[in-house]
């Protein structure tokens, strides 16, 4: 119905999406690899050591992009989930499901790299800082979404049910964040502040920017590829799947 009005909707149909994603994903993957190499080169070799933190600050080049990605991907997942739930767009449902593992991985990497940075800088792997705690809860939200998706056998029902959970989560995320910030200021004084880092040099900023783009490209490539496989599984009896699989066999 919508195809006639807007050309863009053409790619919402599973076979067109499958072909497009198959053509785009390798490019994004390649771009991610190049940007990672460039970003790490700038970050680890060109950028000077920090005058306070020495070399340990370089973890930031991994830590900050993963933190941004994990938060942004959750919102994106909820947007796709809403599109799938409201307009019954199958590709949007598949995209929402495909984003979750990548988002969870970024959330985990963010916590892990944060812990590795915290040990030399704060002297401890973990503090109950507001940001750390809300990042941990974000990881739990991702895990809950994936667990619910996995627990329901019927794929359509799984997509709809977990879409509701994703939406409930996305309404809650800001509330959780502010409540945790508040909890934190009540319980402990500002013994540790993440924001007190000195202003950044241009080289450092460049490295951070390149690494962020690298993470983006990686996320797009992986999510598209996962969505492709998920579509194949969901539509395994459809004519277009048989046609395309027949070609390769």
């Amino acid at each position: 119905m919508a195809e006639q009005r807007v050309q863009w909707f053409k790619f919402a149909s599973p076979p067109n999406f499958y072909d497009l994603a198959g053509r785009l994903a390798p490019w994004f993957g390649g771009l991610a690899a190049i940007l990672f190499v460039v970003g790490l080169y700038i970050g680890f070799i060109l950028a000077p050591p920090d005058y306070q933190q020495g070399n340990s600050y370089r973890i930031m080049f991994i830590h900050v992009p993963t933190a941004w990605m994990s938060m942004f991907l959750y919102v994106l997942m909820a947007v796709y989930a809403a599109i799938g739930l409201i307009w019954r767009v199958k590709t949007a449902e598949v995209m929402a499901k495909a984003i979750a593992p990548t988002g969870a991985m970024f959330a985990f990497l963010c916590l892990w790299s944060g812990a590795l940075w915290g040990k030399p800088t704060w002297g401890t792997y973990w503090v109950w800082d507001a940001r750390l705690t809300s990042q941990l809860i974000l990881l739990f939200l991702y895990l809950g979404y994936m667990a619910l998706h996995a627990a329901i056998e019927d794929r359509q029902r799984a997509a709809n049910a977990s879409a509701i959970l994703a939406l409930a989560g996305v309404v809650n995320v800001p509330i959780i964040y502010f409540s945790v910030v508040w909890w934190n200021t009540l319980h402990q004084g500002a013994s540790v502040t993440v924001t007190s880092a000195p202003t950044m040099e241009t080289v450092m900023f460049a490295a951070l920017l390149v690494m962020t783009f690298a993470c983006w490209m990686y996320a797009i490539a992986v999510v598209l590829w996962r969505a492709r496989l998920e579509l194949l599984e969901r539509e395994r009896r459809a004519a277009w799947v048989l046609e395309r699989m027949g070609e390769k066999a």
């Binding site: 739930l85 809860i137 739990f140 939200l141 895990l143 809950g144 667990a147 619910l148 627990a151 329901i152 029902r157 709809n160 049910a161 977990s162 509701i164 959970l165 939406l167 409930a168 989560g169 309404v171 809650n172 509330i175 959780i176 409540s179 945790v180 508040w182 909890w183 009540l186 319980h187």
Partner: protein
């Protein structure tokens, strides 16, 4: 309009009567709450100062767990005997009917937790105003727990191991209620006012009241599709 009110009251009465007939269900939840709180001193030692400072957190976490325990049965009995499908088919808006069921659930499991909390508060060494704040926070907070928990109960309806899954889905969403609820008692304990915490808790309750029934109704429609 009149028909709607009758439907809501009938559903509420039915759920309350069912709960009265099977009193042990509600009592088990209450017993769980009391036992968990009583186990904490055995775990961390009898030092009254330590227990007092831990009391808000212990009471609130125990209340979360007790609510969690009661959620699995919120829709599953009605689902099994088919009355949930009848509720879905009723001409009245499903979100309001669901609200009626949740009110019944809160009266059966949430309110008793509020009423027994002074006793447990005293056990952990809280004094007068702190206990009053605790009760006020629980009074505002337990409906939030029932409402948000019902989303999880609806989403895991009819799933194998649904009870365990609910906790993974819902406990992260309970964080704001936990922080504000325990924070209110903490604030009084450290000599400041709990008004800010309680106001925010009330705001959270209003927001949840507005959004949760809609989400629960949508979830029930999906799971019974």
């Amino acid at each position: 309009m009149n028909g709607l009110a009758t439907a809501l009251i009938t559903l509420l009465r039915r759920d309350l009567i069912l709960a009265l007939r099977r009193r042990q269900d509600a009592l088990v939840v209450l017993g769980f709450f009391v036992v968990v709180v009583s186990l904490f001193p055995l775990g961390v030692g009898p030092d009254p100062q330590l227990l007092r400072s831990m009391a808000p957190g212990v009471l609130w976490v125990s209340a979360l767990l007790a609510t969690m325990l009661s959620l699995e049965r919120l829709f599953s009995d009605d689902f099994r005997d088919g009355s949930l499908e009848q509720i879905l088919l009723a001409p009245q808006p499903l979100s309001l009917l669901v609200g009626s069921k949740i009110l019944a659930h809160w009266l059966i499991t949430g309110l008793p937790l509020v009423l027994i909390s002074p006793l447990l508060g005293m056990q952990l060494g809280l004094d007068g105003t702190e206990i009053l704040t605790l009760m006020a926070a629980l009074l505002l907070g337990t409906p939030i727990l029932s409402l948000v928990g019902a989303i999880g109960a609806a989403l895991t309806l009819g799933l194998r191991g649904g009870g365990v899954l609910i906790s993974l889905l819902i406990l992260p969403l309970y964080v704001p209620a936990l922080v504000l609820g325990a924070g209110a008692v903490d604030a009084v304990m450290y000599g400041s006012s709990a008004q800010a915490h309680l106001s925010l808790m009330a705001a959270l309750l209003i927001l949840t009241l507005l959004l949760a029934p809609w989400a629960i109704a949508a979830a029930l429609r999906i799971m019974l599709d």
